[in-house]
């Protein structure tokens, strides 16, 4: 166990030390010493003023992401049930998925102003597509035999969706949710870049313009930490929620 932990951690430690010593004597404005950066992370983000900005950003992220998740799964399920609507709209859904969401910031500013609403709407709008498309796809892939059995047994259409199709599609949906989280984090930063007065995106943009590169590097580290924590939380939740699924599949795999 300790050996396993050591294996997973040693490379991190080595890279960290390399960065530390290599940048230790640096006088460059753009690549400050790691010690300075870490100190800034502590001073600004853990104990300082930037923590409030981080809180604002995370608030936007949470609200936007939850909306995206609910809408994505809900609309995905709805579209799956209505075959003609699904066929008719699928190319446009795909188009909106492929469109890089940051280009829509000016449009969002036009329609929703420059405050909380704009950011949440933008995050939700960008993050909904992976979940939606994965939900659609996962539900389309459900075993037809199971569906037919459910229908024969008299399960209602809504029941079929909730108790047969959604659980069967769960791994795919979870993959989509994970992707949505990544997109949401990106949009959280981008939506605060322009015309904003708080948030981590504003912090980075401001730091860039004030040539505060120490601050920029510290924000970069904070973002990486956020991403990792979000990912870990996600994996933990996924394992809890889907343990029955993985267990079943593992059994299946072995029998094969």
């Amino acid at each position: 166990m300790a050996g396993n932990l050591a294996t997973r951690v040693w490379l991190f430690v080595v890279l960290f030390l390399v960065w530390w010593f290599w940048s230790a004597g640096s006088k460059s404005l753009y690549f400050p010493p790691l010690s300075q950066i870490l100190k800034s992370v502590w001073d600004q983000w853990v104990t300082g003023t930037a923590r409030a900005q981080l809180g604002t950003s995370l608030e936007h992220l949470l609200v936007g992401y939850v909306i995206a998740a609910l809408v994505g799964i809900g609309v995905g399920a709805l579209l799956w049930s209505l075959r003609y609507l699904r066929d008719a709209t699928s190319p446009y859904l795909y188009f909106l998925y492929v469109l890089p969401a940051p280009v829509l910031v000016p449009a969002a500013m036009t329609l929703f102003g420059i405050g909380f609403t704009m950011k949440v709407v933008l995050i939700a709008f960008a993050a909904v597509w992976p979940t939606l498309l994965n939900t659609l796809d996962g539900m389309s892939g459900v075993d037809q035999v199971k569906l037919d059995t459910a229908r024969v047994l008299g399960v209602s259409p809504a029941g079929r969706v909730l108790r047969v199709v959604l659980p069967a599609a769960a791994p795919q949906i979870v993959a989509g949710l994970r992707n949505s989280l990544q997109v949401a984090i990106i949009l959280m930063v981008v939506s605060e870049w322009q015309a904003s007065s708080d948030g981590i995106g504003f912090y980075i943009s401001n730091a860039q313009q004030s040539f505060d590169y120490v601050g920029m590097w510290s924000a970069f580290i904070v973002l990486a930490i956020i991403g990792i924590i979000a990912n870990l939380l996600f994996v933990a939740a996924e394992n809890r929620a889907l343990h029955w699924h993985y267990g079943a599949r593992a059994v299946e795999g072995r029998i094969r």
Binding site: D137, G176, M216, A224
Partner: protein
Amino acid sequence: MRNFLTYGLRLAVLAAALGLWQGLSAAGVIRADEFPSMSQTATALWDLLTQSAFWSAVGETLEGWALGLVIGVAVALLIGTLIGLNGFAYRSAIGVIEFFKAIPVIAILPIGLVLWGATLTTKYALVAFAVFWPLVIQVCYGVRSLDPVVRDTTTVLQVKGLRKFFTVILPSAAPFIATGLRVAVAVALVVDIVCELFGAGSGIGERILLAENAGPTQYPQMYAYIVAAGLLGIFLAGAFTVAERYVLHWHESQRAAKDESQIRGYPERRRLTSVAQLSPGGTTPRTPRCRPARA
């Protein structure tokens, strides 16, 4: 018959959406100095298609996309294979890879600007960076996902080394790699355009930025470029799907996908053509979470 109905419905949906846009603009719900009308944007898009400035912007975007993709993919294939084949290397590196994967590329854009200026280099360096991390994980998964039966057969038949790699491991990893590549193609374009949008190079994103800064008179052009960006993404993803189907036609999952359309009710195999595989976060394959082949 079904096809005609589908296409008809699709056109109807498009017409309805565009009509709604035009209606809102005409009614003044959408202010003319903040958002162009549908007709203005459509005209602008049509005009752009005949201008060389537009196509050179597309070319510049594609340049960054292609270079970044090639570098990212090549390095990911190499390193992913090396890491995947060795259990110790995999366990050591996976944490670091996940760490870097979690960083939004936008956060390192200012650093890239300082290193390379507002040039093509910044663009493709950042694209390669963004593409590398999720892809290397996919390659790892693929390399490690060897079916135990196949693995045992290779051992029994004493197939070793490079021959084993090329004839057994790589083909078995192919669907994972293909999924990863599909994701990489989409991510590369998005990152490329976003970099341009933030001043890192020239191309479609840059045109959008310039049009935005030039004011309401240029908004139709700006939204025309935005639509063009989306269309470019569709085109590239579509081209990739075609290429993938051609290259991997031999793989059983592609074959199963074809069979399945003929035999209804047959247990579904994972379909590589599904659009939902586009998940840079890493598709959870419908096989048990990859553990090392030996305990």
